[in-house]
């Protein structure tokens, strides 16, 4: 069993190192989208806060599915309750 655990730990460490190596690859940073948002967000959407302009106008799918995630987690909490009576 200890051999199994050693192999599993080695594989996990390798996966972690590869993930860190992939994520830390910032050699060529492309900021054209961010520059566009910073320059044009107030003119396009009339929102002074650029974050609101992004999450309610440019990326409104993102906030819709973020609220859906909360709805699904509420359903999961209700479904897996220890007490089964509903009200």
């Amino acid at each position: 069993m200890s051999k199994f655990k050693t192999i599993a730990v080695i594989i996990l460490m390798l996966a972690l190192i590869i993930t860190i190596f992939i994520l830390s690859d910032f050699s060529e940073s492309n900021t054209s989208t961010a520059d566009y948002y910073i320059e044009n967000s107030e003119k396009d959407t009339a929102a002074i806060n650029a974050v609101t302009a992004i999450y309610l106008n440019y990326r409104v799918y993102d906030s819709i599915f973020e609220t859906l995630i909360l709805l699904v987690s509420v359903s999961a909490v209700i479904h897996f309750s220890w007490r089964k009576d509903h009200e």
């Binding site: 002074i48 309610l56 106008n57 906030s63 609220t67 209700i78 220890w82 009200e87």
Partner: protein, 131 residues
């Protein structure tokens, strides 16, 4: 020894309107200052947690909160579909109104969702220890 702390109940009664004011301010000013629906909704959900600390009774109708949350999600889905995805070029005022309404809807939905999760964890997860 009474089961309700004098200090906690009075301090929470003092903090109630301040928390409500901060939450509503964060939601309504979401398009002008840092904040928005998600943060303001989390602040508003604190009011329900304070309500539990002050008065731990199961007299809140959680089922109506669930129905309200589903209705709010339907409205959040409906508003961008009607306004944004139809290639209607919205003017400045209408887009500000759209941002305000979406922030209010998202804030109320996050508030109801977090309150439901909190009350379900408090009252429905006991494992037979308390009853």
């Amino acid at each position: 020894m009474s089961d309700k702390s004098y200090l906690m109940s009075h301090f929470i009664g003092f903090m109630y309107p301040i928390i409500l004011l901060i939450g509503v301010y964060i939601i309504v000013n979401g398009h002008q200052s840092p904040g928005g629906g998600f943060h303001g909704g989390a602040v508003l959900a604190t009011v329900f947690i304070c309500r539990y600390l002050e008065n731990p009774n199961e007299d809140l109708r959680i089922h109506s909160l669930e129905i309200l949350e589903k209705l709010l999600f339907f409205l959040i889905l409906l508003l961008p579909v009607v306004l944004l995805f139809n290639n209607i070029s919205m003017s400045i005022i209408s887009n500000k109104l759209y941002l305000l309404i979406m922030n209010i809807l998202i804030g109320l939905k996050v508030c109801t969702g977090l309150s439901i999760i909190f009350y379900r964890f408090v009252f429905y997860e006991g494992g037979g220890i308390w009853n």
